[in-house]
Amino acid sequence: MTDNTTSPNGAAVNDKPADAAEPVVELRGAGKAYGNVRALHTVDLAVYPSQVTCVLGDNGAGKSTLIKIISGLHQHTEGEFLIDGRAVQLSTPREALDKGIATVYQDLATVPLMPVWRNFFLGSEMTKGPWPVRRLDIAAMKQTADTELRAMGIVLDDLDQPIGTLSGGQRQSVAIARAVYFGARVLILDEPTAALGVKQSGVVLKYIAAARDRGLGVIFITHNPHHAYMVGDHFSVLRLGTMELSAARADVTLEELTNHMAGGAELAALKHELAQVRGVDVDKLPEEKDLAAL
């Protein structure tokens, strides 16, 4: 089960044909309550090798909560969480990593004061030498980090600079490159494109496709139905903590997805509101195109 999780880059793990494969990670009626706040309730989700499962939903819908259960940061309080068909209760992110599940967190990406390369390998450092003098293999780590980051289109001339000095998008890219590198079987990305520009977003989407082709199961969380539709095989829409839609790519169009995300009727109301706002402001604001860009 975990025999290939130690190999970084997790080359082709999936030895079964994709259609006959069992889900690597599965939630059955899972839920999570933070004290009195019920953030997630009776959610079903299955992640298959070589498939991209997109999770969409509004702010506060419970997307981050969902992936924090799978990545071992929080424990589910109801239902079942299965890895390779076996029910588990992960108590630390380390356990999830050891099972080959790597995550890019929306809010917990990096340690700002530490150098880029140390951040890249944090928690999974490369070492050399026997025990009493076992030490970090700094040269190898810098080399690997540099290669992986270049592959993401990020060229840094100094990997020793604190990661806090990078731009938000660059930091996010480092976190993604790290997860891609260490994610042996399942890769979870929580709104990876939110802080990124068009070009970097494109790179991330390509990465997601590449990870899928290598046989990884990918969970891709996003606000952007267009991004989701470009790479997704399965779409789950969360709404106030419950699963509103769960459909395969063949059963849903981009239009429908967008509608579901905004919540159909709400979208119509929103359009109406926007028209009003625009009606008021058009006279006062000289530059109408700025407003249209909103």
């Binding site: 992110p93 700002p112 970090l136 790290r178």
Partner: protein, 309 residues
């Protein structure tokens, strides 16, 4: 600074004075090292000063009251010191309370315990002299001897200090554990999320302070043969100050092991220099305060540079 005192105080120029400065620096510097590592790991320990005394008292009274070989007392003291560190660390990670509160509690417990328990066993505020006990000479050789270099007697703690500082530097920069210390202090949640054993790291750091307290406690015991049970109060701040002057961030995540060495050396120079220059020793505290504020401002600047968002 060295040049300054060298110029204004003629006795400061003798080689023996340098040995004194180094000795003063080393006793404080040995403790400043684990305190600095703990601070890089994002916590601090107010019980560190009295813990030194606790360790010395434990070794002394255990051996004396039970008439055992002094080495038995030394081992017991080590266990007690590590246990105090583990207690601080465990309570911290289990409760999530700030280390200020928890170690303030430990500080009071130890301070009161030191005095009360010593009084129970000796009826006095100091322990009985252990200089004629089995193993004393041997232990003194290890913890409190002097080594002559070019006619100048240098206390052995100076060498330990430098060796420990080198070891701490290696630990911080060249090992996994060092990486975890920085990460735990820099962003505990992020560190945990990528699989760093944050709990283990914190407890280990507190136990490191315990080990330091044991070592310095043993040095004090074998230098003076007896221990004053009220000693050590206030030293915890000196350790923290040495670490901050040496560039460690009070909020964690940044610092070095060389920093507190320099901090402790400055401390040693100033405290001895003022004596040699025949100034009023009261200036020492004022001077320390100025240094601390300056260091804090530099730290602030470093952090701003590193985390502009």
């Amino acid at each position: 600074m060295y040049v300054f005192f060298f110029a204004v105080a003629s006795p400061f120029r003798e080689a023996g004075s340098l040995a004194n400065v180094l000795y003063e620096s080393s006793v404080m510097g040995i403790m400043a090292l684990p305190v600095a590592l703990l601070m890089i790991g994002g916590e601090f320990d107010l019980s560190a000063g009295v813990a030194v005394t606790t360790s010395a008292l434990t070794a002394s009274m255990w051996s004396f009251q039970l008439s055992m070989n002094i080495w038995v007392g030394i081992v017991v003291a080590l266990l007690v010191s590590l246990a105090i560190g583990a207690f601080n660390g465990y309570l911290l990670v289990r409760t999530g309370l700030p280390s200020f509160l928890i170690t303030l509690g430990t500080f009071l417990i130890l301070q009161g315990g030191n005095l009360a328990i010593t009084k129970i066993f000796t009826g006095n505020v100091a322990t009985d002299s252990i200089s004629d006990m089995d193993g004393f000479e041997q232990a003194k050789e290890v913890f409190a001897s002097e080594i002559s270099i070019g006619g100048v007697d240098v206390k052995i703690t100076v060498f330990y200090w430098l060796v420990f500082a080198a070891a701490a530097t290696w630990l911080l920069l060249r090992t996994k554990f060092g990486n975890w210390i920085f990460a735990t202090g820099g962003s505990k949640e992020s560190a945990r999320a990528v699989g760093v054993p944050v709990t283990f790291t914190k407890i280990a750091l507190f136990m490191g302070v315990g080990a330091g307290a044991w070592f310095v406690g043993m040095h004090i015991l074998f230098s003076f043969n007896t221990v004053q049970s009220g000693e050590g109060v206030g030293n915890e701040f000196l350790y923290i100050i040495a670490a901050v002057i040496g560039g460690c961030l009070l909020t964690g995540g940044y610092g070095s092991a060389i920093g507190p060495v320099i901090g402790a050396f400055i401390f040693g120079m100033v405290s001895q220099g003022i004596v040699y220059a025949n100034w009023n020793p009261d200036w020492f505290k004022a001077f320390l305060g100025v240094m601390l504020l300056l260091a804090a401002l530099v730290n602030l600047w470093v952090r701003r540079q590193a985390t502009r968002r």
